[in-house]
């Protein structure tokens, strides 16, 4: 039995009358690549914000790295990495300055920061550009950089909220290679995406629709269950009924 690092039980998040997360239940295991899919507005970002300590649940419980979302948000933050949908490194700082800042925030020593910076930049083959401003970097590289910076403090879990949005296919592939390497180290990857080919790379996939998790299994099992040739087909089969309800 693998260790559970995220346990979600009856999680509900309401904004006024609107239920963004309707009774979510799932577990995520150590070292797993967990794909968190759903159409726009399905409630993915709301859930990811609760799990990363940015938002508190209305009811129900979520344990992340052993800490309760809502009441122990600050402990959760020490143990996770987070890369959000919107690009969020400081554009007017250089690569080096961004790394130093985030290293410092997570309490790394000066020596640790320097070592990890060198390792990180070697990985990107980018050592000679450490003094370049983030604003001058192409999007694909920025995204890879934010991913590595989100892991600077070596967290056990990393949340990636649409990390490859707007990135070219080659860079997307490189990005997923990085994800695989990271998961191989025993780090849990919790990723949301709209690219269904990426969903196929995940160990397990959950598909959300209108605030509920409609399906959760390995990509292989999901395709079998829904009698589909790809996760894209599965996704359309699950998301379509919802569209009809809205039309009525």
């Amino acid at each position: 039995m693998r260790k559970k690092v995220i346990e979600v039980r009856n999680l509900v998040k309401k904004f006024g009358n609107f239920t963004a997360n309707d009774n979510l239940n799932f577990d995520v295991y150590e070292g797993e690549i967990f794909g968190f899919l759903g159409s726009n507005g399905a409630g993915k970002t709301t859930a990811i914000r609760i799990l990363s300590g940015l938002s508190a649940p209305t009811s129900g419980q979520a344990l992340v790295a052993g800490f309760k979302a809502g009441t122990q948000a600050e402990q959760i933050k020490k143990n996770i990495g987070y890369m959000c949908q919107k690009f969020s490194l400081y554009e007017d700082l250089t690569i080096k300055e961004n790394i130093t800042l985030y290293g410092g925030i997570y309490g790394l020593t000066g020596v640790q920061i320097t070592e990890r910076r060198k390792k990180l930049l070697e990985k990107l083959n980018f050592c000679e550009y450490e003094n370049k401003l983030i604003a001058s970097l192409p999007l694909g590289l920025r995204q890879k950089l934010s991913f590595l910076i989100a892991m600077l403090h070596e967290p056990g879990i990393i949340f990636l909220d649409e990390p490859t949005g707007g990135v070219d296919p080659i860079t997307r592939r490189q990005f997923w290679e990085m994800i695989y390497e990271t998961a191989a180290l025993g780090i849990t990857i919790f990723v949301t995406t709209h690219y269904m080919d990426e969903a196929e790379y995940c160990d397990r996939v959950s598909i959300m629709n209108e605030g509920r998790i409609e399906a959760l299994d390995t990509p292989g099992n999901l395709k079998q269950k829904y009698n589909a040739g790809s996760i894209e087909e599965v996704f359309i089969k699950i998301a379509r009924p919802a569209k009809n309800t809205i039309a009525v």
Binding site: R49, S52, G53, L54, S55, A56, G70, A73, E74, K77, K78, I80, Y82, C84, K86, F87, S88, L89, Y90, E91, D92, L93, E97, T100, L101, Y102, G104, I105, Y106, G107
Partner: protein
């Protein structure tokens, strides 16, 4: 502590990397001092007079030239009728119309009382009163001279009570000396208020605050990192302002410069706290600017920089109890011109400190890392 230092360092890098802001934070206060201090004056100078001289005698001309020689009045023109002078005032060519009746010279020589009529454009009530005062003074003096010339009532010409006044703390009644400490306070307010708040809202707009919120950075650490850089810049700006005051306007500095900077530090914490508080409920820089502009206008105009607080209505005086600008305005003037010591202004310092603590607490309480 170490985390806070990393955050402060980041703020400084960002401020000084911005080519415009890095220059503007020092250039704007200098310009402000050089422009505003000499420009904002309540002294009466060059009040334009239109004279309707219906007498055209040596006596009437002597009254006019007496007015002109004071330096307060400029003869903007002579009119032949009351209507013509009225037109001049309507067009803004003069602010005072002085009518000298026919037979002014003849009657004054004979000792028969005459009536001189003065009309004043009183849109600006206080300067109208001032002009009235000066005018009355000059004509009164002219009157006294006439009385003594006529030799009649020598006794009346001799005043019974002789008042000797002395102007304390600003002997030459130099208006610049009064305005400069006030302008200094405005300058520090603007820098502190706008820069820090805008900086915070910019992080919201760009989404970087989200990344900060998901780190273990504590609320107070983040707030401190937004205050310290602008506090330091504010103090440097004040030092620049004081230097301009000394070098360009030769303003006296009677009190302790350290005390003034200590008070400015407390003041900056207060306005920075308020700016950050406003930024917590502003989602865009536009929204922040609008709110901040309103607050600043109210704080500055009510602070007593142009008008004395004592003559404001009671509610306005009460409002000034929580107006940090009013305290700095008063403290700056007292330290620079009167040479007040910490003991003299202890009450104000304590109240200002209480405001600073309240505003900062509001900002920290309102700033949410978790929605």
């Amino acid at each position: 502590m170490r985390t806070t230092l990393f955050l402060i360092r980041k703020e400084f890098i960002q401020i000084f990397r911005n080519k415009f802001i890095s220059k503007a934070v020092f250039a704007i206060p200098l310009l402000q001092m050089l422009l505003l201090v000499p420009a904002l004056t309540f002294e009466l100078k060059n009040a334009d007079i239109a004279v309707v001289d219906m007498d055209r005698s040596p006596a009437s001309r002597s009254l006019v030239s007496k007015l002109e020689s004071t330096g307060f009045f400029t003869i903007a023109g002579t009119a032949f009728s009351e209507k013509e002078a009225g037109d001049m005032m309507m067009k803004g060519k003069c602010r005072i119309v002085l009518q000298i009746p026919p037979d002014f010279g003849k009657n004054t020589a004979l000792g028969i009382p005459v009536k001189v009529i003065a009309g004043i454009d009183a849109i600006d009530a206080s300067s109208a009163q001032m002009a009235w005062g000066y005018l009355g003074g000059v004509i009164g003096q002219f009157n006294a001279e006439l009385v003594s010339l006529n030799g009649a009532g020598m006794a009346a010409a001799q005043p019974v009570i002789d008042v000797r006044g002395r102007n304390w703390y600003n002997e030459q009644l130099n208006y610049t000396f009064y305005m400069l400490p006030g302008i200094l306070a405005i300058l520090v307010t603007a820098i502190g208020f706008l820069l820090a708040g805008l900086n915070m809202v910019r992080e919201k707009e760009s989404g970087t605050i989200e990344q900060m919120n998901v780190t273990p950075v504590r609320k107070y650490q983040f707030i401190i990192s937004k205050i310290v850089p602008f506090l330091i810049i504010g103090l440097i700006d004040m030092a620049l302002g004081v230097s301009v005051g000394k070098l360009v306007f030769a303003i006296p500095f009677e009190g302790s410069i350290m005390l003034m900077f200590a008070c400015a530090t407390i003041f900056l914490v207060a306005v920075l706290g308020l700016a950050l508080f406003i930024s917590t409920f502003s989602d865009t820089q536009q929204q922040f600017m609008f709110t901040a502009f309103f607050c600043m206008i109210v704080f500055i105009l009510m602070s007593g920089v142009f008008t004395s607080i004592e003559s404001m209505p009671k509610w306005a005086q009460d409002f000034n109890l929580i107006n940090p600008v009013a305290y700095l305005m008063k403290i700056n003037r007292m330290i620079m011109l009167k040479g007040s010591s910490a003991g003299d202004i202890a009450g104000d310092i304590i109240k200002l400190a209480a405001i600073a603590i309240s505003f900062i607490s509001l900002a920290v309480a309102r700033y949410r890392k978790t929605a």
